[in-house]
Structure formats: C-alpha cells, structure tokens
Amino acid sequence: MSVPAAATICLNLRIWRQATADAAGGFAPYRLEHVSTDLSLLEALDHLNGQLIAAGERPVGFEHDCREGICGSCGFLVNGQAHGPQAATTVCQLYLRQFEDGATLVLEPFRARAFPLLQDLSVDRSALDRILMAGGYCSVNTGSAPEANAILIGRDQATSAFDTASCIGCGACVASCPNASASLFVAAKLAHLGQLPQGQPERARRTVALQQRMVAEGFGSCSNQLECEAVCPKQISADWISWMRREGWR
C-alpha cells in the first residue's frame, strides 16, 4: 500500500466553557480516545460534540465555516497560541498529526477588550469590520470604472499588494498582542490599497481614519512585540506596521 492506514491518537482537552457572555466561565476537562490523526482539530471538536450531545450535554461552541483556512471564522488559543503551534495555519487546518499521543491541549477563546466573549470559544470580532468602514476601500461607484488595463501595475507591486490583501480578518493578531492591538490588521489594509495606484487618492485620509477607528473600538497600540506576525495564518509581515508609521509622516 502506498498509503498507510490512518494512525490514531488520544488527547486530553481542557476547554473554556462559558454558557453566555454574562455567565461565569472555567476550564472543563475532556478526553478523546483513538481519534484519527487525519482529523483537523475542529473535526476533533465535532467528534467531542457528538459525544456531548449523546450524553445530553451542551456541545462546545466555536466559530467555523469554510474549514479550509480562508473564511477567517475559526480561531481560538491552543496552549496559549492563537491557531495553535503550526505556522501559517488557521485552527481548521491544524491536523492532529501535529500532536503527540496523550498530549494535553488547552483551548480558550481569543481575549481582547474589543472582542467581547460570546460563548465558550466564540468571540465577537465585528470591531474589525467597523475599522474597515472608516475607509478601507477605494471610493468607486459601480459602472464608473476605467478600462482595466488602463492602469498599469508592476508584477512585484501587485504581488506585494496581494500579500497584504490576503488578510482573512480572523483576529489572531489581536489575540496574541499583549496590548490587544489591531495594528497588523490595519497596516495590512492600508498597505494593500496604499501600494496600488487605485488607492492613492484616499491614501492619506485612510491612514488616519483607520487608525483612529481602531483606537475608538478599544484596541490598544502597537508595542513592537511582533507576536502578531508569528501567529498570522497568512504570514503578513509586521514590517507593514513600520510602513504604516512612515505613512503617518508622509
């Protein structure tokens, strides 16, 4: 056989359980016996929830949808790390083969003032959308666009803009920052649009508006710990935060 039979693993889970935003929360222990290492961590939680439902208990609440690392819905801390130990990975793409048999995983929600806790591992990240509302766009109405190839953009420039535009809004950068800053999120959007000719007319205004909104939403300031870069599932570089600072001096 070219493909070996799937291996299995046993895991000890300690999961933050909190029924509602106002209720008291705490860690509860669970054990998973002989689950396939081909499962993602979210699929392991599905499996656990199946057991909880069979026992008449409330299943663990967590956010998820695409299960392929692009929608940005999922995200919680695994042993203190946002999205867990694997680099460039959302928690839905974190597979159990990353863990040792018998390992203990502590799962807890993202914690930040701007991300109110909803239930168990779910938090409200709508503050990120409100930051974008302040100016994270090019103001062009439908139908008024010039011919696409009338705007020339060098390949490297387009690639660099794409890299920053790939932010999925998961909030891991905020959750890993000691100051709960959304600087990497903001810098990524400023850099996406600021590097492109289309983003120039509103560039200066956008730079100020997004950062002001970030503060107004209760996020902290950057303190150069670079934890954000380490956990970003799309590997957006914290150099863009420096770039954002220079934008302020332009």
Binding site: D65, L118, D124, L132, G135, F162
Partner: protein, 653 residues
C-alpha cells in the same frame, strides 16, 4: 406531468442578441433620486452576488438592509473560490471575444441555458474586471504591468483573470469593502448572524423575511419594497461537499414553499479535483482548483489493484486516461467529463489511496519543465493546503484527488430580469438557476455572481420598483404574524427540554443523536443515487428511502434546549429539514429528465463510447417545479430555442 404555465414568462428580449441587453436596459423605467431614498430593498446573503448588489443599490440611493448568517460579510463562501473569473477581453490575443465566451457558455451548459442570458453574461464580463480593478483587487499581472490571464477547463483560450489561488477572496473583499463604505455612509444597514427562516408575501408580492438571530434566538421581521436572495447553492444536500459546512438551502427552499418555482434542481456539479475523504469524521471535501489541471496530469495505474508507491510505477504502466480518451482537450475537459471518467476507473478497481477512491494528479512533468519554484508560485496556497490536509508533499509525490459536489446550477427559477415567480423576489448568483445550463464552466461562477449583483439586478430591481405601488406593511400584518408563527412552530417542534427526555427508537433519548448523523444518511443516499451518475431504478428506490428517512427524522430528530439563547444544533436541524425537502425534488427532477446532459448523466442515455446522449426533441427546456401543499410537486417547462448557435453535441475528444 409537465405543463407550460401561463405565468412562466421569461421576459426574454426580442431582436438581435448582441444588442439585446443594451436595448432592454435603455427601455427600463427609472426612478428619481428623491423617490429612491424612500424605497427599501432587503438583501439576504453577502457573498459576491449579495454584497455587490447591496453596495450598488445603496450607491444608487436606495435604503438597503443586508442580512447574513455570518458574523461578517467577509466570511461568505465566495471567499473560497480559488481559480479565477472569466472575461472576454482578448488581452491574451488568442482570438477570444464576447461571441466566443457566449458560445462556450451555451455549449458548456450543454444547451440547457437561455441564449439571451448567456450572451448578456459574456457582454458584461469585461466591465466586471474594470470594476474590480478600480476597487483595488490585486489581480495577477505580467511584468509590463498588464493583467495576466490563464487557461481554464472547458476553454481553448486564456480568459481567466486570477489573484493567485484566492480569486474569490479578493473579489469578495472588493465587494465587501464597497458594501462597508455604504454602511459607513448610512445607506446600508448590516444585520449579521441572522438566518432567514421564512419569506413574507403580501397579496402574492415578496415584502420581507423572518429571521432568527443566531445569538439571541429571537425571531425578527424585516420588511422591504423588494427582496433579494443571494444565498448560494445547495451542494451540502450531499452532506460533504466543497461548500462551507454551514452553507444551506433554507432561504431558497422556504421561498419555493411560498410559490417560487425551482428550476433544474438535478443540475448539480461534481468537481473532479478535490481532496478525497479519509476518516468518517472528516467534515469537508476541500477543492483543489482545476487550474492545477493546466500543469497536472491525471493518471491511474494501468493494472487494476496496483497499490505500489506511485513514484515507482513506470511510465508504460500508467494510464493518463483523459489524455488517452480526449486527445484534443486532454486534462482540460469539462468538470463533468473528468469526474465521470475518474469514477468509472475507480469503480473498475484502478483507484488508488484508502478504499481505492482517488486518482493521481501529477505535477512532476510541469516541475521538470518549469522548475519547482515556478509551480509553487503559480499554485502556492493550494499546494500548502494539500500538504496540510493530506500530510504529503505534492511536489514530491503525485496528489490524490477525487470528485466532490461543488456547485449547483439549479436554483430558483428567474426570468431575464432575475425575478422569481413571486413578484418582487429577485434571486442572484448560485441561488438562481440561470446561465450555466446543465454544467458550469470553470471560472464562470464569479463572473455570474458579480454580473447579477453589480450590473443586472440594480437595473431590473429599479424597473420593478418603478412600476409598483408600495403600500406600507405593518409588522402586525397577518402575513407577518403567520410567517413568524410558522417559524416559531418549527422551532418549538424540534426542541426538547434538557434532562432525560422520552426515549426515541435507537436514539437513547430525544435530542441525544447529533443532527449530523441524519445529514450523513441523507448525503450517502443522495451521492449514490443523484451524484456523478444516475439511473432510473436507483432514483426510484432513493425516493422511497428518502421518504423513510424523512419519516425517521420527523419522529426522532430533536434538539435539546440547554437554556442558552443560541443553539447551533437547532440551526443544523432547521437546515436539514429543508435539505430533506429539496433532496426529494432533486430526485424527481433527475428521474423526469430522461436524457443525459451536462452534469446530469443518466446511464440509460449514453452513446456506445459512454458519452452523454442529449434528447433535444423532448428535453430542450428548463424544468421548473411548483410546490403544492399536500400534493406531489408539479413540473412545468420553459422551452429553450437557439438562434445563434445550432444544437451540437459536445465533443472534447
């Protein structure tokens, strides 16, 4: 019985095709800015179609309310579209044109889509690229700064614009940012975490919806002068698909129950290149963009049962089956053809991997030709995703792939104005049935979603609103009360109190069996009877099995109320009930369509060499199903005629 219904008027344009949309648009009535401000449009769904429509309607001056079940519009599953978006721009200088894209769309859909709609889509395609570029969508570029294009399955020209393997994400963010700009401007109210449970119709006209707030559990009523559904497709009727796990058909299914005809429900697309399922708990079949077929060669061992390491199988003992069977198109044949051939060979014992349910997609030749770096930069995120899920390096060993449900061409019937058979109810994107006929071409879904949202619906909704009186509907109108009561009754019937409920057969207590277990049974039934290959007796048997499953769900399917206002299991149960109804309609439609066309392959209707045999004499029509309470659904038909392209059999050999 099939009937042609008097009210099934597609409102198609007359006269020459190539100016039809322009003439239609110029003939549509307009509304003054002062009056637009007084009119409200409700948009359900924030994918490409919903976000682009909502943003554009708001720019035009309407009051817009937007609902999504997600916590943010950015999460809609359009975000996961990988490969690209088609547009007839001929930047590649390979002879592409609006006419060619039009003809490819009609032929790709196997002559089961409306000519006028396909032509309009091809005409609009270029303006979509202009719009997205102006928004700052970072499409791939050539060194000289011009836009890059690539080739995609089912086409002989390079007309697919892309942003690495994340085109849908970038297009969605463009549309979402346009939407958020309108929220900031106060012209759009965004309501997140709302799941639509009922449509509200007043005197036969769509006037609102009832939603459940997913956090508070409250039922809410939203009223408007026009309602837009842009809620995506129903591939999750097969349980596991490439869709997001919460993607569902409830909005369109509920509208169907209120009188919106459902067109071609059996036209569902199975995508040939997905990561196959291994474990039973696997929640998702992840797509690997078919752009990989540009550089990857599909093969299987010539010898059935050969389980050697693929790298040790010599060239002479490999069957590059698509290149062998289709010398002209080779690995680039349309999705349905590639899926069918892969399935056949796996059933014949040539399949590889666990359970013999995969085929190899081999990048070795392309890596030898262009270098590993070039291939990695072309498909970077796809290859990483594959490595993460499978635990194997796709540049070192061939990838294992298998077909999976991906896209639904069927959906609510709409006329040329994208209005359903319920006046005032517009349906956009994958949720409608429109331009893809019996089979969608690669990179055409994004094009259609954005054509509907940015360009078509804003014009036709204006025309609708211009011709209507808009009497205010009070929240306590009987239609609103009835819709809320219906939703509340369905929820109440599903919930059981916490603690030891009465034991149901085989459930170990009411609400003690996950909804997922029933959904899995539905998926198994549907993929076997109504998947890549269909057959009359199997479809008839599946209808009986489905009836039994529905019966079991009616008796057993319960959800425990733990006293928290939110309840994800309840959401799953409500969605599953709607999938069960839709599944029946799909089976009936597949049974009634006694031909093979596009993605709908009936084993009884094939040529000697196993190709689909269409029956244009009897089935050159759109099947549109009418819901009849307490009776079997009734099949209506809208005949299709072609003036620009004569009927021809697809030939990719």
């Amino acid at each position: 019985m099939t009937t042609t219904m008097p009210r099934l008027d597609p409102r198609l344009p007359t006269g020459p095709l190539n100016s039809a949309w322009q003439r239609t648009r110029e003939g549509l009535p307009l509304i003054s800015p002062a009056n637009k401000r007084r009119l409200r449009v409700l948009v359900v769904g924030t994918g490409l179609a919903g976000s682009s429509a909502a943003a554009t309607l708001a720019e035009q001056g309407y009051q817009v309310q937007v609902l999504t079940y997600h916590d943010s519009p950015r999460r809609a599953h359009s975000v996961a579209a990988q490969g690209g978006i088609n547009a007839a721009r001929n930047y590649a200088g390979d002879g592409d044109s609006v006419e060619r894209l039009f003809r490819d769309t009609v032929r790709g859909g196997d002559f089961r889509a409306r000519e006028a709609g396909c032509h309009r889509l091809a005409e609009i395609s270029g303006a979509i690229i202009d719009q997205c570029v102006a928004q700052g969508v970072p499409f791939a570029r050539e060194y000289g700064g011009l836009l890059a294009q690539r080739n995609f399955g089912g086409a002989l020209v390079s007309r697919t614009f892309y942003a690495r393997g994340q085109t849908g994400q970038q297009l969605l963010y463009g549309a979402m940012q346009a939407l958020l700009r309108q929220v900031e401007a106060g012209r759009v109210e965004l309501f997140t975490r709302r799941e639509m449970l009922e449509l509200i119709t007043v005197e036969g006209v769509a006037r609102g919806v009832v939603c459940r707030h997913r956090l508070s559990g409250e039922l809410e009523t939203f009223l408007a002068d026009a309602v837009v559904l842009a809620t995506g497709g129903y591939s999750n009727v097969f349980h596991r698909s490439t869709n997001a796990v919460q993607s569902n058909a409830s909005a369109i299914w509920r509208a169907h129950g209120h009188g919106a005809l459902f067109a071609n429900p059996c036209f569902t697309q199975i995508h040939p290149t997905c990561i196959p399922s291994g474990d039973g708990d696997q929640s998702k079949l992840t797509l690997m963009s078919e752009s990989l077929r540009n550089d990857g060669r599909l093969w299987l061992p010539l010898q059935a049962g050969d389980q050697r390491d693929p790298k040790t199988i010599p060239e002479a003992e490999r069957d590059y089956f698509l290149e062998r069977q289709y010398p002209t198109y080779g690995n680039m044949v349309p999705r349905d053809v590639a899926s069918r051939r892969a399935r056949e060979l796996c059933l014949a014992g040539h399949g590889v991997g666990p359970g013999g349910r995969s085929v190899y997609l081999d990048l070795a030749e392309a890596i030898a030709r262009d270098g590993k770096g070039a291939i990695e930069s072309r498909y970077g995120n796809l290859l990483e995703m594959y490595a993460r899920i499978s635990g194997e390096d796709p540049t070192a060993t061939p990838m294992r792939i298998y077909p999976a449900p991906h896209y639904t061409m069927g959906g609510l019937w709409v006329d040329y104005h994208l209005m359903s058979t319920i006046p005032g109810l517009f349906v956009l994107g994958e949720a409608n049935f429109s331009e893809h006929g019996a089979n969608r071409l690669g990179a055409s879904a994004l094009m259609q979603g954005l054509a509907d949202g940015y360009f078509i619906a804003p014009a036709t909704i204006t025309a609708w609103l211009a011709g209507q009186p808009h009497p205010a509907v009070p929240l306590d109108h009987p239609a609103c009360r009835e819709a809320r009561a219906a939703a509340a009754a369905r929820i109440a019937a599903l919930l059981v109190p916490a603690g030891d409920g009465p034991a149901g057969p085989g459930t170990g207590g009411a609400g003690r069996r996950p909804v997922e277990a029933y959904h899995q049974q539905l998926g198994q039934l549907m993929i076997e009877a109504c998947g890549i290959s269909r057959q009359g007796d199997r479809l008839r048997a599946a209808l009986l099995e489905l009836e039994a499953l529905r019966g079991r769900c009616g008796e057993e399917l319960r959800v425990v109320d733990h006293g928290t206002p939110n309840n994800p299991e309840l959401e799953k149960a409500l969605r599953l009930q709607d999938f069960l109804g839709l599944a029946e309609l799909m089976l009936r439609d597949a049974l009634a369509r006694e031909e093979s066309c596009g993605a709908h392959f009936r084993e009884e209707h094939q040529s000697a060499d196993g190709e689909a045999r269409r029956d244009d004499a009897n089935f050159a029509h759109i099947a549109a199903w009418e819901h009849r309470p307490g009776a079997e659904p009734r099949r209506h038909s809208e005949p299709l005629s072609y003036t620009a392209i004569p009927f021809s059999q697809r030939n990719y050999r």
